[in-house]
């Protein structure tokens, strides 16, 4: 990377003038303030709880210990934050820290990508060796495959939102079209996964164009509302068109994916028997993992290539200024429809993989929260950044799965406490913290698609500022 990535020399750290005692004092005061705020918040939320007793009457339960624990935790965390050097306001400006972080990320981006790819390829095998077939099933399926599907969806939506700058709140519609395409083609006509996959993608792309046409003249908030409505329309049609989709009950017993024709079943015709292995469901899951990985990598490859081609540059130019695009002879209608179609195609392919993984689809899998999650992945990752979207998918999907496993908290808080109920609260809180820390997403630097001199990064302040 070039030297221009370094922050300007004028941001030299301010001298540490105050002696340790003053610093400790100010840290204690800051921590006390934080504890006070926490106390104020915890009191109305936690202090009293109504319970029904044996005679079915409401009794007030006091929970002062929990309030005290929250306040104490706020005090300790804030004190640590204030005492760590470089974290105080005097020692270093947030701007400098951000610039330093951006420079580090920029330098190590290639390394992170390579390491990420290697660990993704090795992941199922490592888990298998470490945990054995029975216990690794969950890790490869709910973590591995699910994260990969969302990574693919994030990359697909990134084409529409991150590159072309078209805010799409109904992306789940294409995911649903892909999933139902495979589900219905396989259960009604006995189509195999491999035959259905391209059809699922094409049908979704068709719907992408169908959505694209009416919203050609819309941008920003207005576009977001229409796409939101589109996502809901698709879901409601799937719910109510019971003849075709079986309504709310969904389509079940969707055929599992086969190893290029070899089914993953017990018995002499199965995959395991053919290769002389003992039967285990783990082979199917591992195969599906690599399938999802291949789809994700294909999406990534195509997007990265397109970014360096006229169509991809036109998308980014469209995000920056549509009128200027038209003044340069770019057919913005075609460019927009291409973005919608390609984004939807990726969503459809991911949907087919999802249907193959679940073996069951119903409209409840395609609610608005799915669109919001995918959009959150794109925004958290840094709209336009492929690596950022991958990291965000890992964080949001992996994190919310990990939070299902907080049973140990019951030993601390009490038997009646159900930690999984706080899952979305914790994820939401973490998102707020991260977006405050990095308002333009984890990776906000835009890599130019072509260089005259040597590769360098656009200043984060200029890349995609407030475009989403």
């Amino acid at each position: 990377m070039s030297k221009r990535c370094e922050p300007p020399a004028t941001f030299a750290p301010a001298p540490e003038a105050s002696p340790l005692r003053d610093r400790l004092r100010s840290a204690l005061i800051g921590a006390a303030k934080a504890a006070g705020v926490a106390l104020g918040l915890a009191f109305p939320l936690l202090a009293y709880r109504t319970e029904t007793d044996f005679s079915n009457a409401l009794v007030l339960q006091e929970r002062w210990a929990a309030v005290a624990a929250i306040a104490l935790a706020a005090f300790v965390v804030r004190l640590i934050c204030l005492l760590i050097p470089g974290r105080t306001k005097a020692a270093s400006s947030p701007r400098r820290r951000r610039a330093e972080f951006a420079a580090i990320v920029a330098r190590s981006r290639r390394l992170i990508s390579a390491a990420g790819l290697a660990s993704l390829i090795a992941f199922p095998l490592v888990v298998l060796v470490l945990l054995g077939p029975a216990r690794s099933l969950k890790w490869i399926d709910s973590y591995g495959i699910q994260i990969l599907i969302y990574m693919t969806l994030g990359w697909g939506l990134n084409i529409v939102v991150g590159l072309a700058g078209l805010l799409d709140l109904g992306y789940v519609a294409f995911y649903a079209v892909g999933a139902y395409s495979y589900a219905l083609l396989s259960t009604n006509f006995g189509w195999s996964f491999w035959a259905s996959l391209p059809i699922a993608g094409l049908l979704a792309a068709l719907w992408g164009v169908a959505l694209g046409f009416p919203v050609l003249r819309l941008r920003g908030d207005y576009l977001a509302i229409v796409t939101l409505a589109f996502g809901e329309i698709i879901r409601i049609v799937l719910t109510n068109w019971t003849d075709l989709t079986n309504g709310e009950a969904g389509v079940s017993s969707i055929p599992r994916v086969s190893f290029f024709g070899l089914p993953f079943i017990a018995g002499p015709e199965g995959f395991a028997a053919h290769f002389g292995l003992a039967y285990s469901p783990i082979y199917r899951v591992i195969f599906l993992f690599y399938l999802a990985l291949a789809l994700a990598l294909l999406t990534n490859f195509v997007t990265l290539r397109l970014r360096r081609m006229p169509l991809g540059r036109a998308w980014e130019a469209l995000r920056e200024d549509e009128i200027a695009c038209r003044s340069l002879g770019i057919n913005t209608v075609a460019v927009k429809l291409a973005a919608f179609a390609l984004g939807a195609l990726v969503g459809g392919l991911a949907g087919a993989v999802f249907a193959a993984r679940q073996g069951f689809v119903s409209p409840s899998s395609f609610t608005f929260i799915e669109s919001a999650t995918i959009l959150a992945i794109v925004v958290l990752g840094g709209a336009g950044s492929q690596l950022g979207v991958a990291l965000a998918a890992l964080f949001i999907i992996g994190g919310s799965e990990l939070l299902r496993e907080l049973d140990w908290l019951q030993h601390i808080v009490g038997e009646g406490f159900d930690p999984t109920q706080y899952r979305m609260l914790i994820i939401g809180f973490a998102l707020i913290v991260i977006m405050n820390w990095k308002p333009r997403g984890l990776i906000a630097n835009r890599t130019p698609s072509v260089f005259l001199a040597e590769p360098r990064l656009a200043a984060p302040a200029l890349a995609e500022e407030g475009r989403v």
């Binding site: 006229p310 980014e316 920056e320 695009c325 003044s327 002879g329 770019i330 072509v450 005259l452």
Partner: protein, 303 residues
């Protein structure tokens, strides 16, 4: 290598109404090939509206805008095209484009009309180099099939891409920004952004370059450089220029022909020396005493 002075753009009876407001009223003028035609007038005279009609951002209420890039059209050809209802004809005897019928991107793509904007419209987050490559979109798309063959790295696409970078490099050198090629366009100083926008328009290889106040906000030295750049564009790149400008030193220095608008009507049309002395122009720009106005009215100012 000045081309013969035939009409490149003929604006005939152009009228633009916004509801009850008449922004342009029956305006006719021509922009000649190989010349710099300036469109001047007080604020609100309708200059930018003319630009928006010429570049297709507005659909004119009435009038004909004929663009003839390869020579003046024979009147019977022009009439035949107008009556046929088609938007353009690309025959061996020369192309005719009726701009009032064409979409904005089509005017840029087929008619090769490029423009800049009064408030700069660069792709701020993209680098200067990328801005100039986006401007060559159509040529690049043609080389990469329906835009997808480049996925497989076909040689025709690669060669065209290289040529596009060379064109961009040439223009970056012309506007003295080659050292900042890889910087985001939004990070460039104001004057550099104005020059980059002109270079971006030139990368689309226009026959007609429309510049909306290119000297706005420039200091005198930058204005002088701009005048030299525009002259070079006219003389070396066979691009005719239609120019809106308030900076009279620039206008008088470089224009071959000046059209003066006031309240949507043409009040004068001619060479810079004639325009400078025209009493109606002086009145529109400076205002005159009441007595003089009576004299002017008597001599038929508001014809």
């Amino acid at each position: 290598m000045r081309a013969p002075h035939t009409a490149l753009l003929s604006v005939e009876h152009l009228t633009m109404r916004f509801g009850g407001v008449i922004a342009i009223d029956d305006l006719s003028f021509t922009a000649a090939r190989g010349e710099i035609t300036a469109l001047i007038g007080p604020n609100g005279a309708g200059k930018t509206t003319v630009f928006n009609c010429v570049t297709g951002f507005y659909k004119p209420s009435a009038g004909r805008l004929a663009l003839t890039p390869s020579g003046a059209a024979a009147p019977e050809d022009l009439l035949a095209l107008t009556q046929s209802g088609r938007r353009f004809s690309e025959t061996a005897s020369g192309e005719i484009y009726l701009l009032e019928r064409m979409a904005d991107f089509e005017i840029a793509q087929r008619g090769r009309v490029a423009r800049t904007f009064q408030n700069i419209r660069l792709f701020a987050g993209m680098t200067a180099l990328e801005n100039l490559i986006v401007a060559q979109h159509n040529a690049l798309m043609a080389a990469s099939g329906p835009g997808l063959w480049g996925l497989f790295g076909l040689p025709s696409h690669r060669a065209r891409q290289k040529a596009a970078i060379e064109t961009a490099k040439y223009w970056l050198e012309q506007i003295d920004l080659i050292g900042r090629a890889d910087d985001p366009a939004g990070a460039l100083p104001y004057g550099a952004q104005r020059r980059l926008e002109i270079a971006r328009a030139m990368c689309a290889r226009p026959a007609l370059l429309c510049l909306d106040e290119p000297a706005a906000g420039l200091n005198p030295r930058e204005s002088a450089e701009l005048a030299a750049l525009l002259r070079a564009i006219r003389d070396e790149h066979a691009a005719s220029i239609l120019l809106i400008e308030h900076d009279m030193s620039v206008v008088m220095e470089i224009s071959d022909h000046i059209v003066v608008l006031d309240y949507g009507e043409k009040i004068a049309d001619g060479a810079p020396s004639a325009i400078r002395k025209d009493p109606k122009v002086i009145k529109a720009y400076l205002g005159v005493d009441d007595e003089d106005e009576v004299d002017l009215a008597a001599s038929g100012t508001r014809a």
